[in-house]
């Protein structure tokens, strides 16, 4: 991964407390898995930034290397990699996601 891509990722996860690397945008997701996480965050009324990896091929590949995770979407909260769709969905369903947001002092609908 080139330095420019690394810097871009670091900037995104530093500037947005909740940052979702996804295919498409929160309003127009291009993949069901990206849509799923986006919708969960919307239901919880979490303020998040969606970063569309389809607009940047080096970001699309770079984020996989950065997180050592082979798939997209990828959710970052306070610079910490939380997981992909399956993990976030499981956390959403068992209440761990709310607890995690609380611990990280992110506001959401209780």
């Amino acid at each position: 991964m080139d330095q420019q891509t690394k810097d871009l990722i670091n900037n995104e996860i530093t500037n947005s407390a909740v940052c979702l690397f996804m295919k498409g945008t929160p309003d127009a997701p291009q993949c069901g898995f990206s849509m799923a996480i986006s919708n969960m965050l919307k239901i919880l009324e979490v303020n998040f930034k969606g970063v569309n990896v389809l607009e940047n091929q080096s970001l699309r590949e770079g984020i996989k290397e950065f997180s050592d995770w082979p798939t997209i979407p990828q959710l970052y909260i306070k610079k910490e990699f939380v997981g992909g769709c399956d993990i976030v969905k499981e956390m959403y369903e068992n209440g761990e996601l709310k607890k995690f947001l609380e611990d990280k002092e992110i506001s959401f609908k209780k």
């Binding site: 996989k64 050592d68 995770w69 082979p70 798939t71 997981g83 399956d86 993990i87 499981e90």
Partner: protein
């Protein structure tokens, strides 16, 4: 290029020999699967680490030949 169900199961079992693997072809298109993997190896590991172990057993096929594999891990 798609992978068939048996190949996915074989790879996961090679990576995690004690695993009980249940795979479903979600859309019937040979491209969207779900895998439920139960292994003692997951004990004491975070969900991220557990899923990475499954991804590692697929040796780089995830995200390439294998487009969509929903993973659920159990200890």
């Amino acid at each position: 290029m798609a992978m068939n169900l048996k190949d996915i199961e074989k790879h996961i079992k090679e990576g995690l020999p004690d695993a009980i693997v249940k795979i479903e072809d979600l859309a019937g298109d040979g491209n969207h699967y779900s895998a439920t993997v139960t292994s003692k190896e997951f004990s004491g590991k975070s969900k991220i680490e557990q899923h990475k172990m499954v991804y590692n057993s697929l040796k780089g096929k995830m995200g390439n030949e294998l487009h969509a594999l929903a993973i659920k891990t159990k200890e």
